[in-house]
Amino acid sequence: MDFAFTDEQEDLRATVRRLLAKSDVPLWTKMVDELGLTALAIPEEHGGFGASLVEVAIAVEETGAALAPVPLLATVTAAAAVDPSTPAGAALLSGLAAGSTVAALAFPDPAGPALTATRDGDAYLVDGTAVHVLNGADADIAVVATDSGLFAVPVAHAKRTVHPTLDQTRSQATLVFEAAPAERVGPSAGPALSLLRAALAVESVGVARAALAAAVAHLRTREQFGAPLATFQALRHRVADLTVHVEAATSSAWYAVRVADTDEFDTAATIAKLVATDAAFEVTGECIQLLGGIGFTWEHDAHRYFKRATANRLLAGTPADLRRELTPAALPRSTGVRGGG
């Protein structure tokens, strides 16, 4: 397996990073119009660049590192879930590639009733409630995971409640569908959740890396007791441990991206979500500690990284949920006897 990035992919990363560093407004317009980030993995025949999920993940990781309040993750995960061979899917992808549409995946509460789609002549009607829809305040189209496939529903046809969020850099909405007109954009909701999880994992890598970089910059410049904080071994070792967390998160998140087209994807995305969001939570929390007093001020970005990491950890499957989902993979036979390796 090759984890290396091509020169073009490295260029893409640098370009996205440059744009984000400018803190340009309107950022989203530039991301879409100038860089075409929503078009990356969309097939060329639908107006995209025909690149892979790797390019998408690069953009998501960098956007996460900048905590940019744009609906990139929501839109690109929705795009990646859509089946281009469905007519409605193809049409939706063209809109997403052009950047004229913002989309978001929509899932029901795992503890509540499923979302359903029923045929109504040539069309479909979607019913049910989707919760924690990411960037739900901005989305035009909800790509809804029902038990009979993936359906595109204009958010205008749903009752939308936008919630205040702990992590203020990303909105969430509850969408209530009551016989909402919908178009089928995929035969199965299957990979949608894994795509969202893998994207949250990769984004969490960016969040953790950026938080650690901020803490490292602080340690290198700030003096205490007559010496730079960066010379205190207890802090050095803490930074080393956090680096290990970031490295592990990077590996598991990118492993999931690299196996996105294989049978392994669901398991890999679940592992990545667990490993990377736990790591980001630990790293961003410890970065507050490394920063000391300013770390818990509103003014410093440290709490924003921490809150994003907290949200990414609890959304789309809590660590407790993910562990239970992984139990069959980890303990494949009830006899407890498994083959080596």
Partner: protein
């Protein structure tokens, strides 16, 4: 009637009427709540003689022993008494004055503290110094009958409410670190003092920056001799926590109860993975209690640092548990613009627990100095 009963009866008779709304408000992470009403409540406490319980009778206190003071804190916490506003004067300044101040200073400053007529704040930390309390740049110059104070302090709790501040200032120009500092008592309500709240990660505020720009205080408002400020300030640092610990733990138990209720309502308690985690939190709380009971008043040098590390670390983990039992719902705030749930406030503010009042790192330095001998740094 025994002391506990007396406290309990008084609280149940007085934490009523307008004060009923105060139950559970204030305190770390919630200092912004009900400030004016809490100030009135403090006056009621003072009038009833509950402030200065531990001061010697010769200084207007009740001369209560440690167990009696603990009993007060426990009953106060059990009754849901609000976070205190006069505690900085009562527990930090007053012991300092009693140990190092003159009779005139005690006569002038202790009674208004006991009556909650004057609130105090602490001017030690400075911007950029982090936990290095000796890195004082604030300076004070003697100018005839007054000291003129110029400089900046930070992480000053309740400064916006305070009438006075005890300030560590450099009174010998060119002096370094622990030398040349003085301990000055500076009135807050004057033109040369500006207080700016620090908004913290919860969106609320309880710490402040305090700017002194030629602020004036009478020449007599110095505790100890000029240049002795470090000795005076550190001699009473240990008063900061300790006695309040057992009362604090009653608040912790209440937070844990709320978590258990949520876990129960969400059906998590039938899952041993969840109940084990809650049992661990409960066991940790018992361990905090055992630690406090064993070391309170023991004079053990590292006990305050051990206790701070234990409770701050335990409390931070409790904040994580509070979020986890809510699951994904914990990512939604209660209201606009940034109204947080109790669990979210607990979760976020406990990140500050391990930093303020002597960070975990500082406590580890103190313990290591004790166990391994002093090191060159930290």
């Amino acid at each position: 009637m025994d002391f506990r009963t007396r406290v309990r009866d008084w609280l149940s008779a007085n934490l009523t009427g307008e004060f009923a709304a105060l139950a559970g408000t204030g305190g770390p992470g919630r200092e912004h709540e009900n400030v004016e009403l809490r100030a009135r409540w403090e006056k009621a406490l003072g009038a009833a003689g509950w402030i200065g319980l531990g001061w010697p009778a010769s200084h207007g206190g009740a001369g209560a022993d440690v167990a009696t003071q603990v009993a007060f804190f426990e009953e106060y916490a059990r009754a849901g008494g609000p976070g205190r506003l006069s505690h900085i004067g009562e527990y930090l300044l007053a012991p300092t004055l009693i140990a190092y101040g003159t009779k005139d200073q005690c006569d002038r400053f202790l009674p208004p503290i006991a009556r909650a007529e004057e609130f105090w704040c602490q001017g030690y930390s400075e911007p950029g110094a982090g936990s290095d309390l000796a890195a004082v740049q604030t300076r004070a110059e003697r100018d005839g009958d007054v000291w003129r104070v110029t400089g900046q302090k930070v992480w000053t709790s309740l400064a916006h409410l305070a009438d006075w501040c005890f300030v560590l200032a450099r009174t010998e120009p060119g002096s370094k670190r622990h030398t040349g500092l003085s301990y000055l008592l500076v009135p807050m309500r004057q033109p040369g003092v500006e207080v700016r709240p620090i908004v913290q990660l919860t969106g609320t505020s309880e710490f402040n920056e305090v700017f002194f720009d030629g602020a004036v205080t009478a020449a007599s408002n110095i505790v100890g001799a000029p240049g002795e400020g470090w000795r005076v300030a550190t001699g009473t640092l240990a008063f900061e926590r300790g006695i309040a610990t057992l009362g604090q733990q009653i608040g912790f138990a209440r937070e844990l109860d709320e978590i258990v209720t949520v876990a129960h309502d969400r059906g998590l308690l039938d899952d041993p993975a969840w109940s084990d985690r809650i049992v661990d939190a409960w066991v940790g709380l018992q361990a905090l209690r055992h630690q406090a009971l064993r070391t309170l008043g023991s004079g053990d040098g590292v006990a305050p640092s051990v206790a701070k590390l234990m409770w701050a670390t335990w409390h931070r983990r409790l904040g994580e548990l509070a979020m986890d039992v809510h699951g994904a719902a914990a990512t939604l705030a209660d209201g606009e613009p940034y109204e947080l749930s109790a669990a979210q406030r607990l979760f976020l503010f406990t990140r500050a627990d391990t930093i303020y009042g002597g960070s975990n790192e500082i406590q580890r330095n103190i313990i290591a100095n004790h166990v391994l001998g002093r090191s060159r740094r930290g």
